[in-house]
């Protein structure tokens, strides 16, 4: 009954559930695609070179998509009363947190794997294949921050009234640093001015953000989930 086995059990359970119902995957994916279309029309004008907006558009889309997904996945747990079943188990609450964060991360990445190429097709002119590893790193680090913070806050808001409204209200101000760093790093890759020094700074910042909030969640998650 090691924590690793429990961690894997929770992740597996969440992923099986999602693969079977595809509730979150499909709706969030559609939302993301539709957002891209909306962005095109929202910014359409004579001089439609949106290159310097690309990072922003991408991350705004992912942030709102993540919010939708987080809301749904916790709503399921709570509405079906399954949370009690989980809490009855002799499992460290932090293990639950890490497992849920990991599961959310996998789902977010699954959507991004399709969304980023489509986005590139619609909005990016430069071929950035050479810089792909950098982009992947940016996405991973930003996603980790989004999922860690999102999971912590979703746990709180799932037990509150109007949970769909509460989560964005709490999440968006807190995630601004990630938004700033990820946006500028992504735009740099898409626009082709990957000054390595600056980009490295963004990456370190994202990694630091992730570390800080993982520690914060580690310390407070017991109180977020228990009674």
């Amino acid at each position: 009954m090691s924590a690793t086995v429990q961690f894997a059990a929770i992740v597996r359970k969440d992923l099986i559930r999602e693969l079977r119902t595809r509730e979150v995957l499909v709706s969030v994916f559609l939302f993301v695609m539709l957002s891209l279309v909306v962005f095109h029309y929202a910014f359409a004008s004579e001089e439609s070179d949106l290159t310097f907006f690309t990072g922003g558009m991408l991350w705004v889309t992912f942030l709102f998509g993540a919010l939708l997904g987080l809301n749904r996945s916790f709503a399921q747990e709570k509405d079906e009363g399954c949370l009690d079943g989980l809490l009855l188990c002799p499992v460290d609450r932090v293990t639950i947190f890490l497992a849920k964060t990991a599961a959310n991360l996998v789902l977010l990445l699954a959507i991004q794997v399709v969304a980023v190429p489509v986005f590139t097709l619609f909005f990016v002119e430069r071929s950035y294949v050479g810089d792909l590893p950098l982009l992947v790193l940016v996405v991973l680090l930003a996603d980790l921050g989004i999922c860690a913070l999102g999971t912590l806050l979703a746990t709180i808001s799932m037990n509150s009234r109007a949970r769909d409204l509460l989560l964005p209200v709490l999440f968006l101000p807190l995630i601004v640093p990630v938004l700033i760093a990820a946006t500028s790093a992504t735009t740099a890759v898409f626009a082709g001015d990957t000054g390595l020094g600056e980009l490295a700074g963004r990456l370190v910042f994202l990694a630091a953000f992730d570390a800080v909030f993982l520690v914060a969640a580690y310390g407070t998650y017991d109180f977020a989930i228990g009674e």
Partner: protein, 247 residues
């Protein structure tokens, strides 16, 4: 939870003399004195700023202390949050809530004074530069704190969640500030540089006096509001008891 425990005493005969020195009324008096002194110093003692901002720079003597005070308030909420989670004592929750409320108020004032200064110094009411932006986000974040509180019915749960948010939010504010510096450098003159305050003696004195006054004001307001919250709780308890007895 006696009223006397929180220093809210009238000058009752026999009240311990030293307690009165740090009770809320006394603190307000000190704060008032310091702020008035600061005002006088700022306008009559400190020289007019040599840079382009000239006279309008004097708003700095309020703007920066208010900003610092807001952060202190959020820091108090942070500590109160931790203490609540460790002890489960609802009084820490009350303290945290009062601190956030005051922090929010002061943050709004920061933005207000910041905007006035901005208009006077640069001609624009708003600029997306690090400090203003960070305080804007802090306002939104801590407003969310109250939204959260209103959405949880059960008291100890509400206190737990609020504590978690207060902790997470306080960590996030400096991080946000650093992040905003990733963006193109703003127009905001940096006051405290590494290696000295960059202000000459008389300016420094005015600044520090104002700072002291503002902080004392915060402490006084916290004491007052905290005591008020505890009294509210006592009243609620009495109401409940009366209701039960009547059953």
């Amino acid at each position: 939870m006696e009223a006397s425990q929180v220093g809210l005493e009238r000058a009752a005969p026999g009240a311990a003399g030293w307690r009165r020195l740090i009770g809320a009324p006394a603190l307000f008096a000190y704060a008032g004195a310091a702020l008035v002194a600061g005002l006088l110093l700022a306008f009559w003692y400190a020289p007019v700023d040599a840079s382009s901002m000239g006279f309008s720079q004097k708003i700095f003597y309020y703007h920066a202390p208010i900003a610092e005070t807001a952060l202190v308030a959020f820091g108090v909420a942070f500590v109160a949050g931790i203490l609540y989670l460790r002890s489960g004592d609802l009084r820490y929750d009350r303290l945290g809530m009062v601190a956030v409320r005051l922090g929010l108020l002061f943050s709004l004032l920061v933005m207000g004074t910041g905007m006035i200064w901005g208009k006077a110094a640069w001609g624009a009411w708003w600029a997306w530069e690090p400090r203003l932006t960070t305080f804007l986000i802090a306002c939104l974040l801590y407003a969310g704190y109250f939204v959260l509180r209103s959405m949880v019915d059960e008291e100890s749960r509400r206190a737990s969640y609020a504590a978690v948010l207060a902790i997470v939010a306080f960590i996030d504010v400096p991080i946000t500030f650093f992040a905003t510096r990733f963006l193109p450098e703003g127009l905001h003159p940096v006051v405290i540089r590494a290696g000295g305050s960059g202000m000459e003696g008389s300016m420094l004195l005015s600044f520090l006096v104002s700072m002291l006054g503002m902080t004392l004001l915060l402490v006084a307001m916290i004491r007052l509001e905290y005591a008020a919250e505890l009294l509210k709780d006592e009243i609620d308890d009495l109401k409940t008891t009366l209701w039960e007895v009547g059953q």
